[in-house]
Symmetry: C2
Subunit: 424 residues, 2 copies
């Protein structure tokens, strides 16, 4: 039987989960996949963690040389998080001919091209199923099951924390701040929640996913990003009346050959299968020209779901004789502005507060009309001395509606434009 | 670049779809996957079809020898349907060292073990992504992404025709017969709909899927099967009131080490992600001990979705140097009764029509009680001279409730036991 040696860099949440699965499943994996996966070395400095997991201390150190110089190790799985030293250690591993497995989406989305160069040099492989949507096999689907398709679009709920917050706000009518506090107490959100709620985490994943979808490098700086911190529960309530659910979406699209990539809150119709993805669950909807819509759904985070993805990469890698690397030009300098669409088209929901007097609506409508922005419906709710108006706007360019809203804000009768939410 | 020759056996719906995708995508597949897939030979006798698809007649014949004896062909994809001659041609192909790709679930579920033997003999591979749930990569997920899990259960809506019928009945309040007629007129159901509506198609797929899930042969005769022909729209309406949606489910479960496999209509709670799978869409929910629940969703049939799965298998196969075969004992004689659970546990919905007079309910309750069947709730709707009663029954053994129902049917006050539907 093929014997494959593995090194684990770090024994944190996911590293520990991977250690447990690899240890418990060793015999099962031998039986089903015909490879014997042995953990040869682990880098970890936390002695309590080593004891807690029952790891043999003789295979643990804090020196990467013990990994790089051990010829028995052919796969290095990284769990440090952050950029350094994870990046350097993985580059060195690849150059030494060791394949790498990682869940580190920030690092991977920023340094993918370096890894590719090092992998080619060392004739090694790069496996990153766990960077996107935990245990859900979205990366394997894109690389090994969609070859008969030109992928037209990808839409995903790829961050569990924000989906948990938005679901709670929708189901329990609570405010963003109170749900965030709850999520932090339960450990679902970080003390500094910015990576999640400002959409950075979703952006890293979208960069990786849309690069695979469109077989062209989609760097972070080509992705429009907007988080959920400004979401008012009133808008979630209003959306319900129109048959919409509010989600933080990561969207990649082919648009006349140009790539459109964006992360922002969006109203989606209740019929869209993403609308029923609740709590900390994630899901990704892909449209291929031949297969049509397919969706993958599951837990996006957690020690064991992510460990499951890492282990599947390790076993998959262990069975390969040659490794598939990306066929597109992965170098940062290969990215051309012309490949990307910046001014995307959407429908919109706009809520504003205006003075309750004659002629206001006509003025606002004129401002929309001036920029060819066409109103689908208007709903007005009078309140004391002012009126709340909700406009549903037909498909239009983002730049057009932005200009219209700027004009509208300058009207003396308009007290506030409270929210503008894209409708998918 | 690696050149790989393919033969297509048949140019029907899916064969034609595959021909189109392989032809149109040849350059793209060269670019992304580094293999040049060339269609070397096609078996087809329908000259009109050959013309319609624009196939070069010089590569078409009706003689399998032209496939078996051509050393350029290393992959044979079959689209004949039915058992023979598909089975013999594929066995001969495997023995000649050619890998096979098929969408033929009936043949594959019945003859898998023969294919395995022939594949070992010819050192060839067997690829059958397209047998289950069209373009949705469920087979690849089970074989290449779940290695870090003991799969606990699989629940699937794996037949589009029946899901279309049940969705229409639920959404439009129509009867089974009228929706079936509509589906037949639209071409969604066959003139003889038995394979779909009696659950055979779902059973074939469940045999393949649960065999992969549990790494043990699950033959057709170990699968309980019940179709949707007896479904009354009244029960679908009643289910709604309890928060349930009715679906034809294929279920595989590990139960104290025993495998439970069954196909039948079932009420599922609206929170279950399968509940929102509508129309001709399919979905499969897998529970792994580490990854938790994951779901795959998409179109289960059609020329291009299924063609997409076939092409992904062809490209995947073309990239392999050695082929992964099943590690379990696939021989029919390896199946042991002891590995299977026949008397499964469920909750139940039971509707009956009884005489509207004192003491009836007590007698029925006593019959349930006699077999330890515990009632969760009772709802009675009086109608002229008789009463309709709906019992929701707590988790119990199938054998117990069957005995109780038999007793209840023999009570003179019970006019009819109209329906008994499992609740998942």
């Amino acid at each position: 039987m093929k014997k494959v040696g593995v090194a684990l860099l770090g024994l944190g949440t996911v590293g520990g989960g991977t250690y447990r699965i690899l240890t418990e499943m060793r015999e099962k994996i031998k039986a089903t996949d015909g490879v014997d996966i042995e953990i040869i070395h682990i880098l970890e400095r936390n002695q309590d963690r080593i004891k807690e997991l029952g790891v043999d201390p003789s295979i643990v150190s804090t020196d990467i040389k013990n990994v790089l110089e051990d010829p028995r190790i052919s796969i290095v799985a990284e769990f440090f998080g952050g950029i350094e030293p994870a990046r350097s250690f993985l580059i060195q591993s690849l150059k030494a001919g060791k394949s790498i497995v990682t869940a580190n989406k920030e690092m991977f989305s920023k340094h993918w091209s370096e890894f590719e160069c090092a992998a080619k040099e060392g004739k090694a492989g790069i496996y990153f199923e766990a960077t996107c949507v935990g245990g859900v096999p979205i990366i394997r689907t894109l690389t090994a099951s969609m070859q008969g398709n030109i992928i037209q679009s990808i839409q995903g709920i790829v961050n569990g924390t924000t989906n948990y917050i938005l679901t709670k706000m929708a189901d329990e009518g609570k405010s963003y701040d109170s749900v965030l506090k709850e999520a932090q107490q339960l450990g679902y959100a970080e003390a500094n929640p910015s990576a999640d709620v400002d959409g950075f985490d979703s952006m890293y994943k979208l960069s990786i996913l849309s690069t695979l979808c469109f077989n062209k490098k989609v760097p972070l700086n080509k992705i429009y990003r907007e988080g959920i911190t400004g979401i008012d529960k009133i808008d979630i309530e209003n959306g319900k009346k129109f048959g919409y659910t509010l989600k933080l979406l990561a969207i990649g699209k082919l648009n006349d050959g140009k790539i459109e990539a964006r992360v922002h809150p969006a109203f989606i119709a209740d019929e869209n299968p993403l609308a029923s993805v609740k709590g900390s669950f994630n899901a990704v909807l892909i449209n291929g020209d031949n297969v049509g819509d397919i969706m993958l759904y599951g837990r996006g985070a957690g020690d064991l779901p992510t460990g499951s993805a890492i282990v599947s990469d390790i076993v998959y890698c262990a069975r390969q004789e040659t490794h598939k690397l990306s066929s597109f030009d992965n170098r940062p300098e290969a990215v051309s502005d012309e490949d990307f669409e910046n001014d995307f088209e959407c429908e919109y929901y706009v809520r504003m507060n205006v003075m309750d007097k004659p002629g206001v609506l006509a003025k606002i409508a004129a401002s929309f009309g001036k920029y060819d922005v066409s109103i689908n419906s208007v709903e007005q709710i009078a309140s004391k001395g002012s009126a709340n108006i909700i406009f549903m706007i037909h498909m239009t360019q983002e730049s057009y509606i932005n200009k219209a809203i700027k004009d509208i804000k300058s009207l003396p009768e308009v007290l506030a434009v409270n929210s503008m939410i894209r409708v998918i």
